[in-house]
C-alpha cells in the first residue's frame, strides 16, 4: 500500500487539464480507449471525454478537488449528477466518473442507483481504485507524470518485467499470425478437456 500515492491524490492542486490527463491515462491503463475533449478548456458539453471498452461507449467525467478529504458526499453527488447529463448528448450508455475523493461502498451504490434511474451505467473510479491502478505496473507512468512520485527499485523491476512480457506477447502473436501456434494451442485445449473429463470420471 502506497500512502504517498494516496496523499498526493488527496492534496492534488494540479488543475483541470492535469486531472483530465490523469483520468485518461488511468482509464487507458484499464483497457479503455479514451478520447479527451478540450482538456485545455473549452465547451465540453458536460463531459471531459469519451471512452470505450468492450464495445461500450461512456462519457468520462473528472472531479479532482484540492484537499479531497474535505469534500462532502453531497458536493460530489451534485457534480456527479451534473456530469450525468452529458451522457445523453454523447449517445453513450453511461459515465465513467473519475475522482480523487474517497467513496464508501454505500455511497458508490447511491451513485450507481442515481444513474440507473436515468437509464445509465455509472462506473466510479474513486480514490482507492485510482491508487490501485497508479501503483500497478500499467499505471506507473501516469503516477510519475502527474503525481511526480518516482519508481521504487521494486517498481522499476515490475515495469521492466511488464515491458518484457509485452515484447514476448507481441512475438507470440506474430508467431500465431504466421500459423506456428495454432496446432499447439489446439493440442493443449484438447489435452485440457480430455484431462478434466478423465479426472471427473475417476472422481465419480
Amino acid at each position: 500500500m502506497n500512502d504517498r500515492t494516496r496523499a498526493a491524490l488527496v492534496i492534488w492542486g494540479k488543475g483541470d487539464a492535469a486531472s483530465e490527463g490523469l483520468a485518461a491515462d488511468v482509464l487507458a491503463a484499464e483497457g479503455y480507449v479514451v478520447e479527451p475533449m478540450h482538456p485545455q478548456g473549452g465547451p465540453d458539453k458536460r463531459r471531459d471525454g469519451i471512452c470505450e471498452k468492450a464495445g461500450r461507449r461512456f462519457t468520462m467525467a473528472c472531479y479532482f478537488p484540492n484537499n479531497s478529504n474535505q469534500i462532502s458526499f453531497k458536493d460530489m453527488k451534485e457534480k456527479f449528477l451534473h456530469d450525468l447529463e452529458g451522457v445523453s448528448t454523447a449517445s453513450a450508455e453511461g459515465v465513467v466518473f473519475v475522482t480523487n475523493v474517497s467513496v464508501a461502498d454505500a455511497e458508490r451504490i447511491i451513485l450507481e442507483e442515481l444513474a440507473a434511474e436515468r437509464g445509465c451505467a455509472a462506473i466510479v473510479y474513486h480514490l482507492e481504485k485510482l491508487r490501485v491502478v497508479l501503483d500497478s505496473a500499467a499505471g506507473l507512468g501516469a503516477r510519475v507524470r502527474y503525481l511526480e512520485i518516482d519508481l521504487t527499485r521494486e517498481e522499476q523491476l515490475t515495469a521492466f518485467t511488464m515491458i518484457s512480457r509485452l515484447t514476448e506477447e507481441i512475438q507470440g502473436l506474430r508467431a500465431y499470425m504466421r500459423g506456428e501456434l495454432i496446432d499447439e494451442m489446439k493440442k493443449t485445449i484438447h489435452e485440457t478437456v480430455a484431462a478434466a473429463i478423465k479426472s471427473k470420471k475417476e472422481g465419480m
Partner: protein
C-alpha cells in the same frame, strides 16, 4: 450477484442475418447440421465467429458465418445448438466467460477482476495440470480484502458455475463432458486474460 453495470447495459442484438437464421430454424425452414467456432489467440469475443452448415439452403447459402454476440449466444443456448467438437465447445465457453468478465472489468476495474478470476479458478480447478500451470504463471501481486473484491469473486464464480449449468442443462452434455468443456474454457480465460500462451512458447 448481479452487477449494477450489467443491469443497465443491454446486450448488443444479433445481426439481422442472425435473427433471420434463428427464425428460419424455429419455423423448420432450415436446420443446422454442423456448427464450428473460430477465434484468434486472444479469444476476444468481438473476433469470434460461428460457422454453420445448414440444410436446406438458407438465403441460397449452405455455409453461414455469424459473429459471436452475447445475445446470439444466448439464443443458440436456448435452442441447444452445440459445436461440432468438445474442443470447439471449450473455446466457445472461454469466449462466453471472457465476455461475462468484461462486466466485472467495468464495474470493479481490471486489476481487481484479474485477481478475482485467479482466485475463483484456483479454488476449483487446480487438479488439472494445464490449468494449475497457468495459475502458477499468473500469480496475483496482491489480494484485496474489500467487500468489492468479495463481490467480484462471487460474480466470477457465478459466471463459471452458471455456464457449467448451461452446458449440462441447455446443451445436454453429460457430467464429465460438461466439466471437461468448462475446464477447457477456464484454461482459455487464463491464457487470454494473462496473455500466457504466446509468451510461454516464445520467451
Amino acid at each position: 450477484v448481479s452487477l449494477p453495470v450489467e443491469q443497465v447495459l443491454k446486450p448488443k442484438p444479433p445481426s439481422p442475418r442472425g435473427v433471420a437464421l434463428l427464425a428460419a430454424i424455429d419455423s423448420g425452414q432450415t436446420s443446422i447440421v454442423d456448427a464450428q467456432f473460430a477465434t484468434g489467440l486472444t479469444f476476444e469475443p468481438a473476433g469470434a465467429t460461428f460457422i454453420f452448415v445448414v440444410e436446406p439452403l438458407f438465403e441460397n447459402l449452405s455455409t453461414i458465418e455469424e459473429r459471436w454476440t452475447e445475445s446470439f449466444q444466448r439464443e443458440l443456448l436456448e435452442r441447444g445448438v452445440r459445436m461440432k467438437t468438445r474442443d470447439e465447445e471449450a473455446v466457445r465457453t472461454g469466449v462466453h466467460l471472457l465476455s461475462n468478465f468484461a462486466y466485472a472489468d467495468m464495474q470493479f476495474g481490471t486489476k481487481l477482476t484479474d485477481t478475482a478470476v485467479w482466485r475463483a479458478i484456483s479454488d476449483r480447478f487446480t487438479s488439472i495440470p494445464t490449468v494449475a500451470g497457468s495459475l502458477k504463471a499468473s500469480l496475483p501481486s496482491f489480494e484485496p480484502t474489500t467487500k468489492e473484491y468479495e463481490n467480484c469473486v462471487s460474480f466470477v464464480r457465478q459466471c463459471i458455475d452458471g455456464y457449467g449449468n448451461s452446458l449440462f442443462v441447455q446443451l445436454k452434455y453429460n457430467d464429465p463432458e460438461a466439466f471437461g468443456i468448462l475446464v477447457g474454457g477456464v484454461w482459455i480465460v487464463l491464457q487470454s486474460r494473462f496473455s500466457l500462451f504466446g509468451r510461454k512458447r516464445h520467451p
